[in-house]
């Protein structure tokens, strides 16, 4: 026989009241889990959409040379003749502290080549990354799969009278046009895209890069922080954020987050109030019992422990039930509220442990006064029969 046996047996006796208490905490925790899960779903949706919107960070060499624009954006000192970035810089970006916020890293080498007497920008890319970055690309033919294949921008194809499958000589190397880009209305229409390694070789700049486009999402940190961290690992580069990208969406999400926190606090406070009033009523109902405990030598701390142990068990059950129900509710309500289809509910152990801890803490905080009240009960008043 231990104090826990007294607590457990008392909970067993008062099943309906215990269920009511658990329900109070469950509702609070369900609300918290639902709102957190839906916020996460929205975050995930935004990060997916961010990919579709392309890069939001540009990494260029620190240089005051020739100013060029790329994709309608001024990318400052990109110099086609200077190489201050190289292949080894790419993994450094992937290794920053907030690397989980990095979605795509697309390195580029841009150089001028002369074909049929026309000066054209040749761009070396990693097609795998480039396609992720530019989901709006539509290709007639195929995306290049080897280093002797290239992709022509729409305007370039027209000027050079080339179509898919045609050969093309670049700096003395003959390659095959695997596909033509549909008109994008951007700089891409005027570029030839080739495999990065091929272009480095063709331009005789092995390992060189003069631009890295990064797609990052900023759920847990501001974009400025990502820029700061990239700048730190690439001190020789100039890192620029394109803040407008999805900023409005992020702000809306921020408002929703604040709203969720507000609702969660209110619901949890109501849950706490339910626990408080029920525990007070329970303590008053158990006056005689507490009187007996005190009379046979239980210390005040023993009474407090009995009550806290009961609330701990209630909080634990409320937290677990609330978490499971919260997952269920977000699974049903999430797609309806966010418009995201097919998104599964993420089972997050940290969230699970966190909300169970929250539930237990709420229960114990709400029971501090009833427990102290119980421990201070005058045993002679409690035992009126004595």
């Amino acid at each position: 026989m231990r104090l826990k046996d007294i607590s457990i047996n008392n909970l067993r006796r008062r099943k309906s009241k215990v269920l009511f208490l658990i329900l109070g905490l469950t509702i609070g925790i369900t609300t918290v889990v639902t709102l957190i899960s839906i916020t996460r779903m929205m975050n995930e949706d935004i990060s997916n959409k961010l990919d579709e919107f392309g890069a939001n960070i540009l990494v260029i060499p620190r240089s005051n040379d020739l100013s060029l624009s790329y994709g309608g954006l001024n990318i400052g000192g990109v110099s086609v003749d200077t190489q201050t970035l190289n292949d080894s810089d790419v993994p450094k970006i992937r290794q920053i502290e907030v690397k989980e916020n990095i979605s795509t890293v697309s390195p580029k080498l841009i150089g001028v080549v002369e074909i049929d007497g026309k000066k054209i920008l040749l761009t070396g890319v990693l097609f795998q990354e480039e396609i992720r970055l530019k989901k709006w690309w539509k290709v007639h033919g195929d995306i290049p799969k080897s280093r002797d294949e290239i992709l022509l921008g729409n305007e370039v194809a027209v000027k050079l009278f080339k179509s898919s499958g045609d050969p093309l000589a670049i700096n003395g190397k003959t390659v095959r046009v695997s596909g033509i880009l549909d008109e994008t209305g951007s700089q891409d229409d005027f570029l030839i895209f080739g495999d990065l390694a091929f272009v480095q070789e063709a331009l005789k700049k092995p390992g060189a890069l003069n631009l890295i486009e990064v797609s990052a999402f900023c759920i847990s940190c501001p974009i400025e922080e990502i820029v700061r961290q990239i700048s730190k690992v690439l001190p020789h580069a100039k890192v620029t954020a394109i803040k407008q990208t999805l900023q409005t969406k992020m702000e809306a999400l921020d408002h929703f987050k604040k709203f969720s926190i507000g609702i969660s606090i209110i619901v949890l406070l109501i849950g706490g109030l339910i626990v408080f009033t029920n525990m007070m009523a329970s303590v008053n109902e158990r006056k005689r019992e507490i009187g007996v405990f005190r009379a046979i030598g239980f210390r005040k701390s023993h009474i407090i422990r009995i009550i806290f142990l009961e609330v701990f068990i209630i909080g634990l059950l409320g937290g677990i039930t609330g978490y499971i129900l919260g997952l269920g509710v977000s699974y049903i309500l999430g797609p309806m509220m966010t418009g995201i289809r097919g998104g599964g509910v993420l089972i997050d152990p940290v969230l699970a442990v966190g909300v169970v801890f929250l539930s237990v803490t709420m229960g114990i905080l709400s029971s501090i006064y009833p427990a102290i009240h119980a421990s201070k009960m005058d045993p002679t008043v409690a035992l009126r029969a004595l």
Binding site: M1, D5, A295, K300, S301
Partner: protein, 243 residues
């Protein structure tokens, strides 16, 4: 607490004729608003080891107040209660709780068994806050239940027992920790005459084994079982002679 060395003599030989309880100039006044109601007025009393005393008197004479003060549950307004050379009301509250656990066994008028605990759990209750293992607790509880004639009824809930059996459970709970003093408040108040007599005979036999008992009672038939009667009237001891 007993091993702490500050209250050892109660467990020493029962042949020690030193007073176990000494009540000196004890007064208790209840204050209700501006009204002051004296419950006990300068009571002096000594209870020897192995004594069985009955405390009698009309309603409002201070019997229950005296018992609760003896039980370390009710601080006196004036005076002192010394148990086994320990001035109990000078103890800090938590030590006073320890004192109750170690020195006193309470038997309440309406048994006051915990309804959601089984008979054996009720008996083990005072042991729940000791360091005794579950096995030890169980052994002690079964032993005392056997002594009370309740062997085999340990798994029942209190409301599955008769009044007399519930009283025996209450006595078992009071005695499981082998306290030097047993305090009983109207132990036969809720029992029929026959069962009441059986309980009093049980008290008598416990006393013969050396148990010190202080019992509040209204029932004149119970007085004959005790070795001394303390009669209270208007908060004062009017008679405290041995039988």
């Amino acid at each position: 607490m007993r091993d702490e060395g500050w209250m050892p003599s109660a467990l020493c030989g029962l042949g020690n004729k030193m007073s176990l309880i000494e009540i000196k100039q004890l007064s208790k006044t209840y204050v209700s608003g501006e009204e002051r109601v004296p419950a006990l007025v300068y009571v002096n009393l000594t209870i020897e080891r192995g004594e069985f005393i009955s405390i009698i008197g009309p309603s409002g004479s201070g019997k229950s107040t005296l018992l609760t003060i003896l039980g370390g549950l009710n601080h006196p307004t004036e005076g002192e209660v010394v148990v086994d050379e320990i001035p109990i009301y000078q103890l800090p509250l938590e030590k006073l709780a320890d004192f109750r656990r170690e020195y006193l066994g309470f038997i309440f008028q309406s048994f006051q068994l915990i309804p959601y605990l089984t008979v054996i759990e009720n008996v083990m209750l005072p042991l729940a806050i000791t360091e005794k293992s579950n096995r030890e607790q169980l052994k002690m509880a079964e032993e005392i239940l056997g002594k009370m004639g309740l062997r085999g009824k340990g798994k029942r809930l209190p409301d599955q027992l008769s009044g007399g059996e519930q009283e025996r459970v209450a006595i078992a709970r009071a005695l499981v920790n082998s306290p030097p003093i047993l305090l009983a408040d109207e132990p036969t108040g809720n029992l029929d005459t026959k069962t009441g007599k059986e309980i009093m005979e049980l008290f008598k036999s416990l006393n013969e084994e050396g148990q010190t008992i202080a019992m509040v009672t209204h029932n004149p038939e119970n007085i004959g079982f005790s070795s001394r009667t303390i009669q209270l009237r208007d908060g004062k001891v009017v008679n405290g002679e041995p039988h």
